[in-house]
């Protein structure tokens, strides 16, 4: 392995990399090597973004589309956490439940969340319910798996002490397993949020009448490449913000538990 670069070198190289990337992106359409309709320059995309802030496209402005998408995401994510975490803990505590649920769960996991789209549309419609189900399908497995792993990794001495003191099943789960597996659960939530957000975008591309994904499909139909790219940027930024918030939470919890590196 080579020596670490100094801070100044890292910044310089990073700047060169970004400059080349943005420069090529800017130059290709500007000097006419690639038509603007095929690849709009970053400036065009930025301008388009400003316009979309106030002017509606596909029925709503960009912030409104983001709002619709986010509400769906939040609902599906919350449902996945509220059902997935208890299920994972129950599987971690009762071996019979684990043995019954695990094979079914493992079988279903090979079906991509996005493959649920047709059934989601059939069962819950294309408004809010259908996309929410897809987010749920994406975010559910990491919630279950991490709660399960957390519950399995609890110090056996804690469990034995609680058992000796006559703790019932319910209190064992809420007062021993749940608090002890919080770090693992929060790590799972971060994975779940990433997968859920990406599933939502997919669902909106296929079935929805609002949201960023829908806006992008409409833009694709109109060959409005700059609007498609605005959608991509918006999706990236919102995804990044969600991840950052959850990472903050994860770090805070790890610090409180004395697990910080």
């Amino acid at each position: 392995m080579q020596q670490r670069l100094s801070w100044a070198e890292t910044v310089t190289y990073g700047f060169i990399g970004l400059a080349v990337f943005l420069g090529v992106w800017y130059a290709l359409p500007t000097i006419g090597l690639v038509p603007q309709q095929f690849l709009p320059s970053p400036v065009t995309v930025l301008n388009r973004m400003v316009v979309l802030m106030t002017q509606p496209f596909a029925g709503a402005t960009l912030p409104a589309h983001i709002g619709y998408s986010f509400i769906r995401f939040f609902t599906g994510f919350l449902l996945a956490a509220l059902i997935g975490i208890p299920l994972g803990l129950i599987m971690g505590w009762f071996r019979v439940v684990d043995e019954i649920v695990a094979p079914i769960f493992d079988g279903l996991r090979f079906i991509a969340p996005i493959a649920w789209v047709p059934f989601a549309a059939l069962w819950f419609g294309t408004g809010v319910g259908g996309p929410v189900m897809i987010i749920f399908a994406g975010a559910f497995p990491p919630c279950v798996i991490n709660a399960y792993r957390g519950a399995k990794q609890v110090d056996p001495q804690l469990i034995e002490a609680a058992e000796m003191l006559g703790t019932g099943h319910l209190r064992m789960m809420t007062e021993i397993l749940l608090p002890a597996s919080v770090p693992s659960i929060v790590a799972g939530l971060r994975v779940a949020a990433g997968l859920g957000w990406q599933s939502l975008v997919g669902a909106e591309l296929i079935v929805a009448s609002t949201g960023v994904g829908f806006m992008m499909v409409q833009a694709q139909g109109n060959v409005a490449t700059s609007t498609v790219m605005c959608g991509m940027v918006a999706i990236g930024i919102v995804g990044l913000i969600i991840d950052m918030l959850l990472r903050r939470g994860e770090e805070a919890i790890r610090r409180r538990r004395g697990l910080a590196e």
């Binding site: 392995m1 080579q2 670490r4 670069l5 070198e9 890292t10 310089t12 190289y13 990073g14 700047f15 060169i16 990399g17 970004l18 990337f21 095929f38 019979v96 043995e99 019954i100 649920v101 695990a102 094979p103 079914i104 079988g107 279903l108 090979f110 079906i111 991509a112 996005i114 493959a115 649920w116 789209v117 047709p118 059934f119 549309a121 059939l122 069962w123 957000w197 990406q198 599933s199 975008v201 997919g202 591309l205 296929i206 994904g213 992008m216 499909v217 833009a219 694709q220 060959v223 490449t225 498609v228 790219m229 959608g231 991509m232 999706i235 990236g236 930024i237 995804g239 990044l240 991840d243």
Partner: protein
């Protein structure tokens, strides 16, 4: 104890099948317009395999999707792993590429689908582009991390013994990073399937996702189930093959044997 686990597991799957028969067929609690009965499912399976549905027969759809996955996966891994290794080894390359990579990475692969269709149309090329994107990122990240996790003293020992750079890469760096690389490959494969199904659902002319798309428009629940299960079986099959490859390549590592 393994026995008990297998028996309960098989019992659970059998239970689901019985429940399916019971709810849809015998008691009619689930309406056939929402979820197919086992008989509907069987009929749909026969129809698509014998007479064809959405333009082709089932094995043609499946083969088309599988071929796309394999091609795109190999292209993505073939470009992603070397880039990851380079970024792990060469600090300057890392500093140069990392910011651009960080800029593009938050955009989920599925969000590239409309752009891919605009650029390359509804054919295979657009799918390869999107899947490449989905599988590329985990390959790069894990190869990068794999190089960084190699014990420094091993590299120094190799250097001290005068190992030429080429042999250092092929005999120290690559094997050292392999366990992590395979972790990345498994993630890449999973992402590839999700992306392919989504891309075919958005726009395609053949493939498993296209079957799902047509079945959805026809409101044909039995065919939706056929498509979903086929996608699941194909996903399982490719994961299984990758597992075999990993085991034979990593037979020397503890992880590979586990």
């Amino acid at each position: 104890m393994r026995n008990r686990k297998t028996i309960i597991g098989l019992g659970a799957i059998l239970g689901v099948v019985v429940l399916w028969f019971a709810l849809s067929r015998w008691f009619g609690i689930i309406p056939a317009s929402r979820f197919p009965t086992p008989a509907d499912f069987w009929d749909a399976l026969k129809q698509i395999e014998l007479r064809g549905y959405a333009g082709s027969r089932l094995h043609d759809h499946a083969w088309h999707s599988l071929r796309l996955i394999v091609i795109s996966f190999i292209v993505a891994v073939g470009t992603g792993v070397p880039l990851g290794l380079l970024m792990g080894w060469n600090r300057k390359a890392e500093a140069l590429i990392n910011p651009v990579f960080t800029l593009i990475r938050p955009i989920p692969p599925l969000a590239w689908i409309p752009l891919a269709i605009l650029w390359l149309g509804l054919g295979d090329a657009a799918k390869v582009m999107v899947i490449w994107f989905a599988a590329f990122v985990p390959s790069v990240i894990n190869a990068h991390a794999g190089v960084r996790n190699i014990d420094k003293s091993v590299i120094e020992a190799a250097r001290m013994l005068g190992t030429p750079p080429f042999r250092l890469v092929t005999e120290v760096i690559l094997p050292g990073a392999l366990p992590m690389i395979f972790t990345g490959l498994r993630l890449s494969l999973q992402a590839s399937w999700t992306t392919l199904v989504a891309a075919e659902l958005v726009g395609a002319l053949v493939g498993i996702g296209f079957v799902l798309n047509v079945a959805q428009q026809d409101i044909y629940p039995a065919m939706i189930l056929v498509g979903m299960l086929t996608a699941g079986v194909l996903g399982w099959f490719t994961t299984f093959i990758l597992g075999l490859v990993e085991k034979s390549v990593l037979s020397w590592s503890v992880r590979g044997r586990a």
